[in-house]
């Protein structure tokens, strides 16, 4: 088999596995659910679309503003506390959106401690902005998803160094002009990648919006499924969601165009000194974000844990931790390996169509976990019921399940869902390897294998590690796919959080939620330490 063939079949295989659940969703259109659609159009569709639109709009502004602003501050400026704020700003990444949602409601609702205190001080008429509102949902999602933009923008800024900015200044631009005309456009691909991840998470989110009872496209999918028990209608809605995402990915890729951002990252640079009031303002701003997005929620969780006591800590609880960790690790390794192969495939000469197929392979991230899991489940059950059943019949044995309910199926589900998360950093670390290096190696007679093993892989290690850690944390947090596809006895922390929150028992959900955050912290800190080494 020639090289081209190998890469071709590899990418095809991945794309087919990813397309399997999506195909199942598309097939649903063969049985158009007129009844449900008419009802939806008549009653809710307008509201759903406008809610989803405002959510996307608001979260875009929120995560870009917070992410880019904070990244610029910590990467380019020096101010009191910068050293630890640098990584503290990454901590909210370990907090799942559904946890942030129930903690925020617990704190800021009418019956929560803050508003109760305010009423005590200022009487019953005192005004407080409604937390269960579009603004409330946008705030919560922005606070948990800004780290995607922050992390990617920050390393882009650091690798740019200050040289460019200085050059722009020498040529007569003001600091702001230099930032908007030089620094920002250079970092655009990284920012766009972070924003794309944050928006896909937003579109797929169910836990947070359901806690706020804020109707979006995702909640409509679940309603069709859980309420009307109409899986076809749910799948049809899901394909529409997918269409939006495909459009967004397309726009993003086009906007990025041929922008290349491989840069010499070896500029020794010194940060701008922010002194006096400016320094304090920068410090306060960053502290405030850490406070609201991390310290306050964690404190609330700790208060709940203390209140309910540690009654739920037992062997079973430890096994939940163990399962979460091992699932995260297995999924991280497999997913990143596949992402790595895809990225390398893309770098092979004469493979123009590959990027498009790879785009398809990363679509899974935008689908709500449950919807994706249903698609996978149907695909696997088809294999179980037809292929494996025939196999067992031929062997003279009773047919039984092979794929469904297996660890393999769950890992595949994670892979499909989080391939985009792993592919981003892996691909951009490959992207940063200048073509001239590859050309030089080739001209010295190195073949593809040698180039991959001795040049690409060592240079890509940081990206690969980043991808793996991101997938690890995401798998820890992932709820619906784990619930639906886990094998017997493979309960995780997220499953436990679900069991408690679905009954509104937030205080009892606090222990697994807090554990989940703490377990997720370690990789996040590792991530930041690594990215400091640029």
């Amino acid at each position: 088999m020639t090289h081209h063939r190998f890469w071709f079949w590899l990418v095809c295989a991945v794309a087919i596995i990813v397309l399997l659940p999506i195909t199942n969703l598309i097939i649903s259109w063969s049985n158009f659910q007129t009844d449900i659609w008419l009802h939806l159009i008549e009653t809710q569709l307008g509201q759903l679309l406008s809610n989803t639109f405002w959510l996307i709009f608001g979260v875009s502004i929120g995560v870009t503003g917070l992410g880019v602003g904070l990244a610029w501050l910590t990467a380019m400026c020096e101010f009191p506390g910068r050293r630890w704020l640098d990584w503290a700003l990454m901590l909210p990444f370990a907090v799942p959106a559904y946890v942030m949602a129930f903690v925020f409601l617990g704190i800021f609702e009418f019956s929560g401690p803050i508003q109760t205190q305010l009423r005590e001080w200022f009487g019953p008429g005192s005004y407080f902005p409604a937390i269960r509102s579009t603004g409330g949902v946008i705030t919560v999602l922005s606070l948990v998803f800004y780290p995607y933009v922050y992390m990617l923008a920050r390393s882009a800024f650091i690798s740019q160094g200050r040289g460019l900015m200085d050059a722009a200044r020498i040529l007569g631009l003001t600091p702001w002009q230099a930032f908007f005309k030089v620094t920002l456009p250079m970092a655009r691909p990284a920012i766009a990648a972070g924003l794309a991840l944050a928006l896909m998470e937003t579109l797929a989110d169910f836990g947070a919006v359901a806690t706020f009872n804020y109707d979006t496209f995702t909640t409509a999918i679940y309603k069709a499924w859980y309420g009307f028990f109409n899986l076809q209608a749910a799948a049809q809605l899901a394909t529409l969601l997918l269409l939006f995402v495909a459009l967004a990915v397309f726009i993003e890729k086009n906007a990025r165009g041929r922008a290349r951002y491989n840069q010499d990252s070896q500029h020794l640079f010194h940060r701008y000194q922010l002194t006096g009031l400016l320094g304090i303002a920068a410090s306060l701003f960053a502290c405030l974000v850490v406070l609201i997005a991390f310290i306050i929620p964690i404190t609330q969780l700790i208060i709940w844990v203390i209140k309910t006591g540690l009654t739920d800590v037992d062997n079973r609880f430890l096994s939940l931790v163990g399962h979460s960790l091992s699932l995260g690790a297995i999924a991280a390794v497999t997913t990143v390996t596949i992402a790595l192969l895809l990225a390398i495939a893309q770098k092979q000469p004469n493979q123009r169509w590959l990027p498009k197929m790879i785009n398809i392979s990363t679509l899974g991230y935008a689908l709500p976990g449950s919807v994706l899991a249903v698609g996978i489940m149907m695909g696997f059950s088809w294999l179980d019921n037809h292929i494996f059943a025939a196999w067992f019949n031929w062997m003279g044995e009773e047919p039984r399940q092979v794929l469904l309910g297996s660890l393999l199926a769950l890992i595949v589900a994670y892979g499909i869902r989080f391939l985009a998360v792993a592919f981003g950093p892996v691909d951009s670390s490959l992207y940063n390897i200048k073509p001239s290096i590859t050309e030089a190696a080739r001209s010295l007679g190195a073949n593809s294998k040698r180039i991959i093993l001795h040049i690409y892989l060592p240079m890509m290690t940081p990206g690969v590690l980043t991808g793996a850690l991101l997938v690890f944390v995401d798998v820890l947090k992932e709820m619906p796919a784990t619930l639906l596809m886990r094998p017997f006895g493979w309960d995780t922390l997220a499953v436990r959080v679900y069991e408690m929150t679905s009954e509104g028992e937030w205080a009892r959900a606090a222990l697994p939620a807090l554990t989940l955050v703490i377990v997720g912290l370690l990789p996040v800190i590792l991530l930041m330490r690594r990215s400091n080494k640029y």
């Binding site: 859980y226 059950s381 009954e503």
Partner: protein, 337 residues
């Protein structure tokens, strides 16, 4: 030749088995899919295993995904029993063809007829009453009467409700449709929406906390949520009101179970189901969540009994499932989110 091929395949199967979920059929074993939360059913599973030696494997999830999984698995399903909450969900499971009828005198004797499927596809195991909770300092019990009455103008800005996406509210509205007819019910639901003091909540507990904090005066909840609140805050100024006592009775629903259509251990599943209807199990099943036992021979827990006796609606709970879609559409039209 063919034989050696078969041997190779056998070996291959063994290897695949090591990496996949291949489920080995054993005699003394049961597999349960449950939408009732682990901490509410595990004590029962453990006790049953201790008494009979039958090992019970289970997974938890919401009813929707579990039923979908059963459908997808078809004949290959490892599941023997489906436990879920709300007759609406049980009805859907039967409607999707994942349950099978069970003929059992024990179950027929222990579980009253209106708490089980007329065709014996599923059986209620605990009763949950959905009724009103009010603030004692702002509402006189005499002001309250029926669910429909909460649509009255006098409750303007005083009502809190949980989201219509929860099956509990869908079932409540389904029975109101059965009692009052479609048109009247739609007016009632519109009236509720007009009277709301705050956007609808995502769970019963939040709605009750809003009443306690003074955001509104009355709400509708399943009584066990009230029980949980009492345990946490014994001096709360909230009280239960039994709705519809002068008319059809308070709306009740069940949590229950059915044997799956392709159960591999049908006999064992029926036996376990029967055991769940016996006094010992009934007591544990209901008390775990402060619900009412389905079997009338078993008394509710002390705290639950302290809320007083009430007249329960005798409508067969399966109506909740049969009219579920209609109820959802009606609530959508009325603007109940």
């Amino acid at each position: 030749m063919l034989k050696s091929l078969k041997h190779t395949c056998l070996a291959a199967t063994a290897v695949i088995s090591a990496f996949t979920s291949i489920y080995v059929a054993a005699e003394e074993k049961l597999v349960v899919y449950t939408a009732r939360k682990e901490h509410l059913v595990k004590p029962l599973f453990d006790l049953y295993t201790k008494q009979t030696g039958v090992k019970i494997d289970y997974i938890t999830d919401s009813a929707g995904p579990l039923i979908t999984r059963l459908q997808a698995e078809g004949k290959n399903t490892p599941a023997d029993l489906l436990i879920t909450v709300d007759a609406g969900n049980l009805w859907q499971a039967q409607d999707k063809g994942v349950l099978q009828p069970v003929k059992s005198e024990t179950l027929e004797q222990n579980i009253p007829a209106h708490l089980r499927d007329p065709n014996n596809n599923w059986f209620g195991l605990s009763v949950r009453a959905r009724t009103m909770v009010y603030a004692t300092d702002r509402v006189k019990p005499a002001e309250l009467s029926t669910y429909a009455n909460l649509a009255d103008k006098k409750w303007d800005g005083r009502l809190c409700l949980r989201t219509s996406k929860k099956v509990y509210n869908q079932s409540l509205v389904a029975t109101i449709i059965e009692r009052l007819g479609k048109e009247k019910t739609e007016q009632v639901v519109k009236g509720w929406v007009n009277n709301l003091a705050a956007p609808v909540f995502s769970n019963d507990t939040m709605a009750m906390e809003a009443v306690a904090a003074g955001q509104c005066d009355v709400t509708v909840v399943n009584t066990y949520y009230y029980g949980r609140l009492l345990k946490e805050k014994p001096d709360t100024k909230l009280k239960l009101f039994w709705a519809n006592q002068k008319t059809t009775g308070t709306h009740v629903n069940v949590s229950g179970a059915g044997v799956t259509k392709y159960a591999k251990h049908k006999a064992a599943a029926v036996k376990f189901l029967e055991w769940l209807s016996t006094p010992t199990a009934q007591k544990i099943f209901a008390d775990a969540n402060m619900e009412y036992p389905a079997s009338s021979s078993v008394k509710p827990a002390k705290l639950v009994a302290s809320w007083g006796e009430f007249k329960a609606d005798q409508l067969n709970v399966e109506i909740a499932g049969r009219k579920q879609a209609e109820a959802i559409k009606l609530m959508d039209r009325a603007g109940y989110k």
